[in-house]
Amino acid sequence: MARRYDSRTTIFSPEGRLYQVEYAIEAISHASSAVGILTKEGVVLAAEKKITSKLVEVSSKTEKMYQLADHLACAVAGITADANILINFSRVSSQQYLHKYQQPIPIEQLVQQVCDWKQYYTQIGGLRPFGVAFLYAGYDDYFKFQLYQSDPSGTYGGWKATAIGANNQSAQSTLKQEYRDDMSLDDALKLAIKVLSKTIDSTDLNANKLEIGTLTLDPVKGPRFQIFNENRINDLVQQCDIKSKRDDDDDDEDRNLLRSSGMTTK
């Protein structure tokens, strides 16, 4: 029954559904996961890298995360080629706003522009939708740090913590339990690693499988997006592992527990 109504984006099914859009969303749930967490000190983006062969020549520093402007970055889940189009669009859009208003684009404005474009492809022209979901992390003077999620239908929402890609439901439920409004950036980093360790299929986490970035506010230079290098990620993973192992241990490890929770990351 569905087959009669799903081959074109521009028609509804009898139940009032847009199958092509739903199929696009389905495509993303097979992509590697990405997590975003908002804190008062900044936004954390963490993503699972697809295991790459040793033969690959790395052309860009990152696979899942991209900087869109000085004050804006995104993590991607879905079809990479589609994502590249939208990333370029976002970058040009941000610069056009800067050119026009001599002010950095407010995050929500940029998210709306991308989503308007995504929606366009679900209604007009008979072209398929973009098979990409984004997590946008940014800082502007109006609402300070923000985290947004968008999907192929062009729907977006602001979040305190969210996940996209494979196993995003289990990631979301972990985030729901553990997220606190007053988390520090370090806490958020550890939580992101914890969430990814549950959603990624492999037994051990290291810098080869993870990509982590933070969007913070430098008091002098302004907002900046930093990608963690291998050493920093490995250090972070080690600290989290220590913490979770000790959580399972008995009370005579209490002193060690206190020490590890007071530790700050670099």
């Binding site: 520093k61 970058r91 050119h99 001599q102």
Partner: protein, 204 residues
């Protein structure tokens, strides 16, 4: 009557030993009326690339906004910054695109390339560029500036000497031009730092 001398202004850049200096006057005026004496015409793209733009002020501002746009896009797409000669070539292209309705700007680009060698370039309002290893300049007192620069410039000047030379050349010519002056700003760019100094000149 010329559109290029409606607002007035002068920019100059010189090369020294592993350093460059770039300077401009600080006047902003409309015809005979001076409106501001804190309006520099030199802009920093990064620690190693500066651009000075003379000509019609509104076009200076517009062209600068376009340059910043392209600079940012290049940085995001290529994950590195434009080198000075790439930037100069881009500027030239930008100007020629408006060949039959140009931006009334004459820029001067000064920077240090990857090997810390000085790079100097100037161009006319439709993008005809010229690179030099001694000095480049543009502005309403350009003929006078050519004279002073030819007289005072010599190769391999150290940063401090370069500062003195460029300042003297600029001031001597500014003082004889009604549309330039009201102070000057000089940036000396070395591989380790950028030193910016304001000069006091005749306030007329």
């Amino acid at each position: 009557m010329s559109i290029m001398s409606h607002n007035g202004g002068a920019v100059i850049a010189m090369a020294g030993k592993n350093c460059v200096a770039i300077a401009s006057d600080l006047r902003f005026g409309i015809s005979i009326q001076t409106l501001a004496c804190d309006f520099p015409k030199v802009f920093q793209m990064n620690e190693r690339c500066f651009v000075g733009i003379s000509g019609l002020t509104t076009d200076i501002q517009t062209v600068l906004a376009k340059l910043k746009f392209k600079w940012n896009m290049y940085k995001l797409n290529e994950e590195r910054e434009m080198s000075p000669n790439v930037f100069a070539n881009y500027f030239s292209t930008l100007l020629y695109e408006k060949r039959f309705g140009p931006y009334f700007t004459e820029p001067v680009i000064a920077g240090l390339n990857e090997n810390n060698e000085p790079f100097l370039c100037s161009m006319d309002l439709i993008g005809a560029s010229m690179t030099a290893n001694d000095f480049v300049l543009a502005g309403t007192c350009n003929e006078s500036l050519y004279g002073t620069c030819e007289a005072f410039w010599k190769p391999n000047l150290e940063p401090e000497e370069l500062f003195e030379t460029i300042s003297q050349c600029l001031i001597s010519s500014l003082d004889r031009d009604a549309l330039c002056g009201w102070g000057a700003i000089v940036h000396v760019i070395t591989p380790t730092e950028v030193i910016s100094r304001k000069l006091k000149t005749r306030q007329d």
